[in-house]
Amino acid sequence: MVKLRIGYPEDPDYGERLAEFEARIARGEKIEPGDWMPAEYRRQLIRMISQHAHSEWVGMLPEGAWIPRAPSLRRKLILLAKVQDEAGHGQYLYHAAETLGITREEMVAALLSGKAKYSNIFNYPTLTWADVGIIGWLVDGMAIKNQTMLAQCSYGPYSRAMVRICAEETFHHKQGKEAVLLYAKGSRKQRQMVQDALNRWWWPTLMMAGPHDTDSPHTPLLLRWGIKTKTNDQVRQEFLNEHVPELLEAGLRIPDPHLRYDEKTGNWIHGPIPWDEFWKVINGEGPMNRQRLLARRRAHEEGRWVREALEAYAQRQLAQAAD
């Protein structure tokens, strides 16, 4: 792959090009793959989109584990379809990242080596069936807030991928909510199970939106270039304002003793977030980091002979077509 050597501040036309580029973004135009862009814009997008793709792919594991145990035909079909969608999201996102000049192989290698990050939320285990409902409602709920924001992204392929993905996530969100509401009004064991799932997933879900704006050094640049259109705290706030009343309405307890409603702003204000844990997990010390990576590596290793066979078969077909 030829690496693009354009868009660096030391280039003679950088200043002029940058002004033009920023003017396009200010006008709300989308930047497309062949367009001039600052190298840093490209780098940030590759980082974000590939992380996002990895999250979809790794994210199949915690929920996928429950496909074989789903308790009804309908739930099993729904979960299969959901996890299939997540794989599809991974696929569009890898394609979107490829438009920036990186290959899927390079991205996969970065994931398997442990160099690339993916959403922290998937480093937690799914302990019971209720986790599937809570993930659908809350984790996908937070993902939707983030992705709706990213659908406005200045980079065309990412923005378009987000539009498509959001439509599917909205479905997952509805199905997750429906299951949680059912279990919250269900048998004693179902009610316990769903409350326990909420207790475990609440803080990791809030942390999905990322560190507070004051601790998020990339944010100003990402906002200026329209890669993001809202800050982490704004996204988190939107999530809270939608979900807190609905969870309370369902009769569930939210495990935050400081949570309160602010009459003046109409916002739900959360208590202190356990950021120590967040940084630990993101740096590899979460409950499932090692297991997730091992699962991805195992599938990669065990699939190697299959990919080789695919390649050999394709070569043979090409050779035959040439004859």
């Binding site: 308790p71 299939q84 299959v306």
Partner: protein
Amino acid sequence: MLDPYLKEALVARLTAWADDEVVLAQRLSEWVGHAPILEEDIAIANLAQDELGHAKVWLELRQELDGSDPDHLVFFRDPLEYQNAVLVELPKGDWAFTMVRQYLFDAYENLWLKEAAQSAYPPLAEAAGRILKEEKFHLRHSSLWLERLGQGTEESHRRAQEALDTLFPYVRQLFQLLPTDEALVEAGILPDLRALEAPYLEEVEARLERVGLRPPQGGYVPKSRQEHTEYLWSLLAEMQSVARWDPEAKAW
């Protein structure tokens, strides 16, 4: 309207088909998230959904006949009550095992569904015609994999041949009649599965040969759908674990 004996016979037949699909879907779903390429994660999740959807169709037809609840049949029947063929319950193995099994099963389904679409029992004919449309895609997908594996590398060929050696004898079980099937065949409701075995073998052996694979001679053939392997218990134990965990739960 079906007379009581035919009704009972059809209930048994529909259950056997549903059990095949449920158990196969369970094995397929074990791959989701672990396939050799992301595109195949998508394909296999889709395949598992289709097969499970077929089970649902058969159980809903059964429900029309005897009022039984499909979920109850799937999640609360014991291993000895399951009527699936051994072919579908064997552990998923490697990708070659999974794809060779899928090919053998899809080829079988395509064949009998085509006949069942002419059934004298209209709901069955209609359902078979609908399912056949999906099964044509399955067969295309699994035939292509058979070809890629057979004509890929030495290793893929070896693995596909090994899978075939294990799996092939079991396909013969698929063409056996249940004790009550005879009456259904006579009434024109069920195709005579025994008569489909020869065309099946002809078609499948021709394709195997084309991709450089050899069907093995001999091997153990289960004598009825009462026969299972020791793998079924744990497959069902996992599948039914949540549903059976809370006897007080009214809905999932």
